[in-house]
Symmetry: C2
């Protein structure tokens, strides 16, 4: 089930128990949005359940795939109508790949894309379109994705399903393209979509939409290679990553990125500072605006959808970190702090922020304003350094909006549970409700090897409070570079945290999947239980560890309790017995006569 | 490092990087409480960090161990002073071991213990002693355990460390035996300690103490055996389980339990109903009071420290579950519901509750009032069935107290985040602040294979809100019987959830460990970072996956970012550079002159 090419192979084929479908957006037969559909056992007498799908063409066996050709350029037709004409792009320079020698140079992806740029007169960014009240094809696409399940939920029992506490988020009953447009115009959502990333399947990030997750990939100077990175991308989106950040350092950054972008259906984010630092041999003091500016253009032309820009780390903030237990723990933050101190100057990112905005607007690269001073330990959470930077990020958010750019804001980090809510409230107030994008946060410092879990606790909570996207943490956090299994574990862990947040916020359709899997569980439809889960393969493998036979897939028990002690089996027997005895309704009447006060009207299961 | 006996072998030896110490309780040189001490690298210039230790003699290489002899009977001297005289115990009956044939019968543990019982005139339970204002040796022991680190925290910066939100919990600055006594007298805490479990290392469970965790072990009719169960006990406490429940079903229950009890330093809980059901061949309708009563006595004489008693599942509650998505999901709850319906009678557990109290008081078996109607799906959370049972549990709590018994109350289950707090509040109000003991709760239904994580989110939150003990969930939940690795994963996951709760509540000493590991992280003391973590072995293995050499244990980077991009390395360089430039203090002055307003007084790291 794998595509093999001369250079790379990636995982393909459907996720177990599901198939890819394409659903046209209402009124737009040409805009077909992919979903994944899980067919249930005939005994369920339920229609298939459709699920949000980030996995791209890789899970569609009907799709011809070639990593050399890249994915279909879905957005080309839309973009060419917008007067964004191709132009001769910046030539690739030896330093873009870290001066890799001929033997060590990774060949670039041969797939060509027209490099486009918007001029001053055209509307370029989704924010500019939204402010002008123009609904783009990307907004239509993203709206249809987000609207999944709402009609079904509404039919079933919408009021009962949506009983969450949203902390001021306003989740609509139905998501229309106009709603997406209005949210982007208000700055409350972004639709990261570089005009040089035509392969993108558009999606939207904001507090009034599904909570999203990001997976980081990227080689480091110590380990990893190109093939592994592209496979990590495909692997991460297979399990549900909504966006992927390529945090590569070392050699071949440019060429590896070309493979990633041409083959990515999800928005790709980067930290341009990492590549800039490579270009100056790792000496932060040698960084300058010209080099950084050139790197922004290089990456924007390749199609990177959002940039982490650490412009909030100002010279004045650095001394605030002096008493911290773990100082500065953001790579970008520490690089900029070092630069500021080395030159005794204000950050060149802060000083050139307006020019950065002008460049990013031309390609519609969204801002992810970096939290370079996020806390790296419980002891440092919510301190003066962190909040001073957040104030600056609020200022920069408004400046970027004024320039027509889309903006989200990054957040911590290591934060104990009782200090999480203040982060969300302060970000909303300071940054004008721009989407918050947090790393975890990790709620304890003491679990190296399990930091996906310590951070999932914080992530679920801050997602509930209003964070729009959660950056995953893998089991290798603090210890080493994640491998393939770690990436999957991180993604699944964050999918469940995001889902927990959607449920708690009262997302009108989120519980459809929980209810479907719970019914499957109660009715011993083991295959349905596996397939409706976030990771059908692992669920099946765990079940089969003790009861491997096919016959056990319809057994009315599992090895946890065995047949005599299965509460669900007994519960079913009780229900059957009650029905035999002329139904629960009659029993209720009998019990009420006997003086029971606690009875409610008991009907058969819905 | 393993003890091998004729029948069983278990894991022994110290946890990596730590050694066992025994600390006498203040003023009680004969009461020596075990802790585990982690020595730090000389460069840290810090004293060793002491940690709470549940692992018993198995991690003490100096301790002679024999599973046939059982653990030392620490409490014998205390108990014999209390006028609790040995008596001739109930003879073992064939049905106690499920009528196992001679070939399949597991031999009982040969270790003898004097079987004791309290009469009507003596004080027997810790609750009775506490109500009489008498501080027991067990209270002194538990107080010294709980007090760990408080003096050190107080010296360092107690006010800064303890900044949590406790939701009405009153964590004392120091824990004295008198405080433990007062909490037990108020019913806010229990000290589960059957007088027939002299091997116990006493501990206390309550909202104003460290949050505890329980691990379930036990064979089922489908799989498992005696050797595996005793090893699971030793393995679970090695990683931090505060109590262990033996949920065995099938044959040989009695004899396997004898091995577990004689070799357990932690309180052991059971659900006597399971064994009772085995005695009637698995037919719930055949259960009766006489048989159940006999089983209570059988297990109380063996030394079980707490019983889950599902007396809250009343006949009147059963119809309330009829419209649920997953019906009744507690084994005990479903068995009792089936019994009630089969006989059209009120639960015999409810009807004989006073007699149950009388039996449990005689041995000081604590109640764990079972939540037989806990929700098994998000859809069923906080419903009428669940809360009707909770009202009954409140009534039973008071009745048990009146009889002199110790009581905790079990809680859910599957509960989305926004419905968790109501559970805690309702339990506190309904059950007079008796300790709450919850299973998770699981915050989504859609992650089979990852339910330790979905439930850790809920567990951390409800622990913060006031739950005293968290029952672990393993990755196998809903799928099968956990194996050794699953038990470890479940325990570590719950240790971190409990720790997150302690931090958020503002436990005055909880952050000592976080701060110690964060300092180790910042100073690249890799060995210290591993050893201070919850699972040194896994942390080390993950690190070594990419950087296995010994030299890398002092490297100022890891494979995640590599040397050039290590923020902590850069942060250290910044600090060194700042100190070179006549210190941060001078820089502050310079910056302030230049008009910076955000500076604070920056001193060298504490």
């Amino acid at each position: 089930m794998d595509i093999e090419t001369k250079t790379l192979s990636v995982t393909t084929g459907p996720i177990a128990g599901s198939r890819k479908i394409y659903s046209p957006a209402p009124g737009h037969p040409d805009i077909a949005v992919p979903f994944r559909e899980v067919a249930l056992h005939a005994s369920a007498q339920e229609p298939p359940l459709q699920l949000y799908d980030t996995s791209g063409a890789y899970t569609d066996p009907a799709e011809p795939l070639s990593l050399e050709d890249g994915l279909p350029k879905l957005r080309n037709a839309w973009l060419s109508k917008r007067g964004l004409r191709p132009y001769a792009s910046r030539p690739v320079k030896p330093e873009d790949n870290g001066h890799a020698s001929a033997e060590t140079l990774v060949a670039p992806c041969p797939a060509a894309h027209d490099v486009r740029m918007g001029d001053e007169t055209a509307l370029v960014t989704q924010y500019e379109f939204a402010r002008a009240g123009i609904v783009t094809e990307e907004m239509i696409y993203a709206a249809h994705r987000e609207n999944l399940g709402r009609a079904a939920a509404h039919e079933q029992a919408q009021a009962r399903l949506a009983d969450g506490e949203s902390f001021g988020a306003a989740l609509p009953e139905f998501v229309t393209p106009e709603f997406v447009c209005a949210e982007i115009a208000a700055g409350r959502a972004i639709l990261p979509a570089n005009i040089n990333h035509p392969e993108l399947e558009p999606m939207v990030i904001g507090r009034n939409f599904l909570v999203k997750i990001n997976a980081n990939i990227g080689n480091s100077a110590v380990t990893s290679d190109a093939a592994a990175e592209v496979e990590k991308l495909v692997w991460a989106i297979r399990w549900g990553a909504d966006t992927v950040m390529d945090l590569s350092t070392g050699r071949n950054i440019h060429n590896i990125r070309s493979w990633i972008l041409r083959n990515s259906p999800v928005p790709i984010g980067t930290v341009p500072l990492y590549q800039a630092l490579e270009k100056v041999g790792g000496d932060a003091a040698k960084l300058d605006w010209a080099l950084y500016r050139d790197t922004l253009i290089e990456q924007a032309e390749q199609g990177v959808d959002y940039f982490t820009i650490h412009a909030g780390v100002r010279l004045a903030h650095v001394p605030l970190t002096a008493r911290r237990v773990t100082g500065i723990v953001s790579r970008g933050g520490s690089i900029m702090a070092q630069w500021c101190l080395a030159h005794h100057r204000e950050s060149f990112l802060y000083e050139h922020f307006d020019e950065i905005c002008d460049i990013m607007r031309r390609y519609d690269v969204s801002f992810s304003l970096g939290d370079g001073l996020r806390p790296g330990a419980n002891a440092d959470a919510n301190d003066a350094a962190q909040f001073a930077e957040l104030e600056t990020l609020g200022e920069l958010t408004r400046r970027a909006w004024a320039k027509g750019c889309q903006v989200m804001v990054e957040g911590p980090g290591h934060v104990p549970m009782h200090k999480i809510k203040a982060n969300m409230e302060k970000q909303l107030a300071t940054c004008g409700e721009a989407p918050f994008y947090t790393l975890g946060p990790l709620t304890t410092d003491i679990a190296p090897g399990y930091d996906h879990i310590t951070s999932a606790i914080g992530a679920a909570m801050i997602g509930w409070f209003g964070t729009a996207m959660l950056c995953y943490v893998t089991p290798k956090e603090h210890l080493g570079l994640p491998n393939r299994e770690d990436v999957k574990t991180g993604v699944i862990t964050y999918k469940l945290a995001a889902h927990a947040a959607n449920l708690a916020k009262g997302h009108p359709a989120a519980r459809l999947r929980d209810d479907a899997i719970s019914r499957a569980r109660f009715e011993f439809r083991w295959e349905d239980q596996f397939n409706l889960g976030l990771d059908p393969d692992t669920a099946r493998a765990f079940h089969d560890e003790t009861l491997p036979k096919e016959a056990h897939k319809s057994a009315h028990f599992c090895s946890m309790c065995g047949p005599k002690f299965c509460s669900m089996k007994i519960s079913q027997d009780i229900r059957a017995e009650a029905q035999r005895q002329e139904g629960m309704e009659a029993m209720r009447a009998a019990f009420t006569e006997a003086g029971g006060a606690l009875y409610v009207t008991a009907k058969d299961k819905d």
